[in-house]
Symmetry: C3
Subunit: 149 residues, 3 copies
């Protein structure tokens, strides 16, 4: 039977956490837009006119939000693919849900501590746990399928 | 039955629009390379030699193309995952096709108005509609699976 | 039957090469962190304190690693989606494995020649082959489903 089936509780867990992470990712993207509007700092000359702002590429608050967003783009898409591949290896439901939940909670904390900002090592921890989960899932996938070949 | 089945017309619509969006995304990536070659502006010293150009990180035309590409990278991958998860909730075919088609057409318009550029609010609209579609699909997915648990 | 089935050898090839590419992508992400630590160059004031470094946004070695990582983010996620969609069109196993393997090997070479760096056109070739494979798969997908409609 297909693992990527909506009746499979592993797949349901994957769907819910992936969707939450994606909504979080796109929420940070509007945060950049909101910061640009309130600080009147833009990247493009055509944006300046309507909002009486300036073109400035190094505003520290906008750049901080952009770095938080960029860090999401570097870490959340790998989760989408590795999470989906990982559940095809038939892991336990409780363990998988723990991995997915930890990943999601840490990435939400990562955004908060990056943007406020909260002193280190809070951001390093909130980055490190999901990063290790991605490696763990990737190695499990490769070793499972290579040993099955 | 598995929803992610090639006979399912919802999945076929997802496949076609995702593939078109991805081709558009990678087309913008060559546009950056093309702009670099014609303006002889590069990021790496080893690229300069062959093309008699200069290393310059703030050329306005190259940076504009790069921002258009970056904006695709922030918005199209969320569609890949949210679109795939959304069709597992069993939405209507006509409605889903409308969402996917609107997303795709707006993202193509977004690239054109960003690169020309066309005065605002054209780019804001071409950005906003797909952005709202992503949110809509994500919220539908989360609420569908959480209410089913 | 569902194509996205773990018993399908096409899907197994997709899984293995996607997972390897994703691990490579996230490995480059730690390389940036490692380069920052050894050169004591950071983006955020709160990172400087613990490691007695400086905030500097244009360190050439860090920026080179970041560009290699960025190039992965622009090319590997399109492979995840196009590779998955491509196998639904029922291509031959040997041919598909050749495409996936070439893509993966070239992207690994790309990172190495970018970071060392090795003189051009090595990087252009290691970039170009996977780029053409993405286009090929995307066009195959669109033409297959549009002719089936």
């Amino acid at each position: 039977m297909s693992v990527l089936n909506v009746i499979n509780p592993l797949f349901q867990a994957y769907i819910v956490y992936s969707a939450i992470l994606t909504l979080k990712l796109i929420a940070v993207s509007s945060m950049t837009g909101y910061t640009r509007l309130t600080r009147r700092v833009f990247s493009n000359p055509e944006d300046v006119k309507n909002f009486r702002g300036v073109v400035k590429l190094d505003d520290p608050v906008v750049e901080r939000t952009r770095r938080a967003h960029m860090n999401d783009l570097e870490n959340i898409p790998p989760f989408w693919i590795l999470g989906a591949l990982y559940i095809t290896t038939g892991p336990g439901l409780a363990w998988t849900t723990l991995l997915f939940r930890s990943f999601t909670v840490c990435r939400i904390i990562h955004t908060i501590v990056y943007i406020l900002p909260v002193p280190q090592p809070s951001r390093a921890i909130a980055y490190g746990i999901p990063y290790i989960i991605n490696w763990y899932m990737g190695i499990q996938v490769v070793s499972f399928y290579i040993s099955a070949m």
